[in-house]
């Protein structure tokens, strides 16, 4: 097994556990992002400086400096030393008008995978600058300027905090961290990221003040101070990220005086399932592994909103469905989901000049929304009428083979067997309608896999992956269904088939199905531009 295969398997394992790191850089492939955290202490100013290079600048650095994507490599270490000096020369820090010399205390480099697994690069440096004892008497002005990579697009953030015993009188920058040291960019700010390259802070030795003084309306997402970030265990590097941390100076080896870099947390519409298609070499092991991963992803996918699990659950709870029905419904949803993907894929391929798949989603959504709504209403009306007709004895609906609860099925109210079965059986037509409506809207992820497979001339593999994905989806849906059947039976036993189970549960669930249909229809109408809000 070569390194590439190991990397692919490592990646696949990560995807199984839902860790989806290998995504495009959230600020664009061209970007270089900056982060400066200025910590003012009584004796020294500490500057935590991080540079996050997206795929293209990383490639340029790798080319120009002839380095490999291996943080442990000697060449990379030499590069890191050089780069830290170059970057330091681009920074200026003054207190009381006097320039301070920044000493490199520790540095780190990591290469988190970006779009298509291509490397990105993060460099972190911890600089320290001694404060002149005299300079911290009375009020002082600190000025900071980051002159690195002028004009280059990216997230540019500066924060400033002061130690206890120091007071920040005012500051042109926030005291809170918005991007978690460039590892978690707030998505609402990605289109207009902060562009701070200068900071002016007035501080004084004086009354003990809170360590953080947010000044300019902090749009903070995470109210994390520098101190808490330093000791935070939350920011851990992903396993596949290569790192090297070099502490300079013996006294600075404790955790909070070193740099800990983390890969970006953002995920993009290109998910791990899609990425699997990009695997270059396909050996049997890789294919099997990919299939296992696809099954896992399918199961997880079933738990995301909008894939019929709510419908399956609501229907089975309300309809006296059995294990068999749960199985059947799960299979129908999955089959229609898979068929939907294939159908849409085929349509997209043959009509790609005229139809954009995005235009088809709302139509499919509309069709299934209306179908689900109609079914919900029919069920509601049926069950409401049934309540009047069968008032007081609606509870004999369980199938006789329903999983070991025969004692609930005595027909002691004189209703004939025929009626009982008609009442209790879940109609196949209902199941089909619901299953197909619930599953027909294919998820973009599965469609992208299919289309990527086609564009990479790996149609067979793509189809196979989707089948595996569907198997996982089915297993999860069936499991949910079975759980619902059991839960309802358990509840029924508990309440002795009281009014809740016999009357209100079926009514509520059918009302829920109708509402779900309305929701789906509205969503389709809005997203398809049929109506404007």
């Amino acid at each position: 097994m070569d390194m590439r295969q190991i990397a692919v398997i490592g990646f696949a394992v990560l995807t199984i556990f839902g860790v989806d790191r290998a995504t495009a850089h959230p600020l664009g492939n061209f970007s270089i992002s900056h982060y400066s955290a200025i910590g003012i202490g009584k004796d020294a100013v500490e500057l935590r400086y991080i540079i996050d290079m997206a795929e293209i600048p990383t490639f340029q650095e790798i080319q120009e400096n002839r380095i490999t994507v291996d943080a442990e490599d000697v060449n990379v270490q030499a590069y890191l030393t050089r780069k830290a000096e170059i970057l330091r020369d681009g920074l200026s820090l003054q207190v009381g008008g006097k320039p301070l010399r920044l000493h490199l205390d520790s540095r780190e480099i990591i290469f988190p995978p970006g779009a298509g697994g291509l490397p990105t690069m993060k460099i972190g440096m911890l600089f320290k600058a001694k404060l002149d004892k005299d300079s911290i008497n009375g009020e002082q002005a600190l000025e900071y300027h980051d002159g690195n990579f002028p004009g280059r697009a990216g997230w540019k953030e500066i924060i400033a905090v002061a130690d206890a015993g120091l007071k920040l009188i005012n500051s042109s920058v926030a005291g809170t961290d918005r991007s978690r040291q460039l590892s978690d960019y707030p998505t609402d700010l990605l289109n207009s990221p902060p562009q701070q390259l200068d900071a002016r802070i007035n501080f004084a030795v004086g009354t003990i003040s809170p360590a953080v003084v947010p000044v300019r309306s902090p749009i903070s997402v995470a109210k994390t101070t520098l101190q808490t970030l330093e000791s935070s265990n939350e920011i851990l590097p992903p396993e596949q990220t290569y790192r090297a941390n070099t502490n300079l100076g013996s006294a600075s080896s404790s955790d909070d005086s070193s740099i800990q870099l983390a890969a970006n947390r953002q995920s993009t519409p290109r998910n791990s399932f899609t990425e699997m298609m990009a695997t270059k070499q396909l050996s049997l092991n890789i294919i099997l592994l990919a299939l296992v991963v696809a099954v896992g992803l399918g199961a997880f996918h079933a738990l995301e909103p909008g894939h019929g699990k709510t419908l399956v659950a609501a229907y089975l709870v309300g309809s006296r469905g059995t294990f068999k029905h749960a199985l059947l419904l799960g299979l129908i949803v999955t089959a229609s989901h898979t068929a939907g993907v294939y159908l849409l894929g085929a349509v997209t391929l043959y009509a790609s000049q005229y139809i954009v798949p995005e235009q088809l989603y709302p139509w499919l959504g509309l069709v299934s929304g209306v179908m689900i709504f109609t079914l919900g209403v029919i069920l509601l009306v049926q069950r409401y009428l049934r309540r009047d007709a069968l008032s007081g004895h609606v509870h004999h609906g369980y199938s006789h083979h329903a999983l070991g609860h025969p004692h609930h099925h005595a027909h002691h109210h004189g209703h004939g067997h025929r009626h009982d079965h008609h009442e209790g059986q879940v109609s196949l037509r209902e199941l089909m309608t619901l299953g197909i409506s619930g599953g027909i809207v294919p998820c973009p992820a599965a469609l992208v896999v299919l289309l990527s497979a086609v564009s990479m001339q790996r149609i067979g593999f793509g189809l196979l992956l989707i089948v595996a994905f569907s198997v996982g989806l089915a297993a999860a849906l069936i499991a949910i269904g079975v759980l619902m059947v059991y839960a309802r039976q358990f509840m029924a036993r508990f309440h002795g088939e009281g009014r809740i189970v016999t009357r209100w549960l079926p009514l509520t669930s059918s009302a829920f199905i109708a509402l779900f249909g309305v929701g789906l229809t509205c969503q389709a109408l809005v997203s398809g531009g049929f109506i404007r809000l």
Binding site: N29, F30, I56, Q60, Q63, E64, L118, G151, S352, Q353
Partner: protein
């Protein structure tokens, strides 16, 4: 437009989209409507682009000058004004007026310091003037701000021309890397990469495939030029001729288009047309490209020489 029919920007964006897909008449109508609604930096810049495509360089230059003046008067964002100034420089460069082009690029850089387009414009200008070191410096500055694939390709060409093969290789690798990222990101078109492959005789099959795919999404004249150039490189000359004729249909004055046409006709042995277009390329802008200007001159000379010789032979036979 349904919400606010007085919104000039909406017509502007509609026109842009129509222009990109090659529906020029409709684009013109949209832009005209926009100009009627607002006489601004944005409306005149757009009109200028269309005029330029139609080969009306003087009209385009006049509109861009008007756009810059209106932008300054209305205190529009400096990057927008710098864009129009850069575009004005490009118009002058296209017709070989290097002095005016330089003045416009400098103005653009003054309006918006380190504007990457103007830096790249200066780089192209210095290349045309054969001041390669300065050109390299300008391209490096532009790439440091935004590594556009066409800048990297042009920088690579200068490195190659000045014998710095390793640096050239690095820039070419960057172009391909950006193309690969575009593919991963499912970017629909990859025009720069397809030009790059054809210009450098690399991966010609892939280049042609990209050019054909480009035409699925955009049918503007440059999509046809790209296809023609890639078909020519793949030896499919008749199809290349059909495509280049489509690219030339609007009468665009672009030395690159004329050069491609000249090369295609030359290979088809249509000597008169080849001579006409190669001469046109060089008269439009003698230094339109660091490598292809020389190629055009060389082939033109050969064609004229052979014509002269044929003429002499004919005269000899006649006498």
């Amino acid at each position: 437009m349904a919400i606010n029919s007085e919104d000039g920007d909406a017509y502007g964006i509609l026109g842009d989209a129509l222009l990109e897909v090659g529906r020029y008449a409709e684009a013109e109508a949209a832009y005209d409507h926009m100009v009627q609604l607002e006489r601004s930096l944005y409306s005149y810049s757009r009109l200028a682009g269309l005029k330029s495509t139609r080969g009306d360089s003087a009209g385009a230059i006049a509109d861009l000058e008007r756009a810059v003046a209106l932008g300054k008067a209305a205190k529009q964002p400096s990057e927008g004004i710098a864009w129009a100034e850069w575009q004005l420089g490009m118009e002058h460069f296209a017709i070989g007026d290097l002095l005016m082009a330089e003045s416009c690029y400098r103005q653009s850089l003054q309006t918006y310091p380190n504007y990457y387009r103007a830096l790249a414009g200066m780089a192209q200008l210095r290349t045309a003037q054969k001041s390669y070191d300065e050109a390299i410096d300008f391209y490096q500055k532009a790439i440091a701000i935004l590594p556009m694939p066409d800048y990297a390709a042009a920088l690579g060409d200068i490195y190659a021309k000045t014998g710095r093969d390793e640096q050239a290789r690095q820039q070419y690798a960057l172009v391909e890397y950006i193309g690969r990222l575009n593919d991963i990101n499912k970017v629909l078109y990859n025009r720069e990469l397809a030009y790059f492959y054809a210009d450098h005789d690399l991966k010609l099959n892939l280049g042609l495939e990209l050019a054909q795919r480009e035409l699925d999404y955009r049918r503007d004249i440059y999509a046809y030029d790209l296809l023609a150039w890639n078909l020519y490189k793949n030896g499919r000359l008749d199809e290349a001729r059909a495509a280049i004729e489509e690219a030339l249909k609007l009468g665009t004055k672009d030395a690159k288009l004329f050069f491609h046409a000249g090369m295609i006709y030359s290979s088809l042995d249509a000597k008169a047309k080849a001579t006409e277009f190669l001469a046109l390329a060089l008269s439009t802008n003698r230094n339109f490209h660091p490598v292809f200007s020389a190629t055009a001159a060389e082939i033109l000379e050969r064609l004229e020489h052979s014509t002269d010789r044929a003429g002499v032979e004919r005269q000899g036979q006649g006498g």
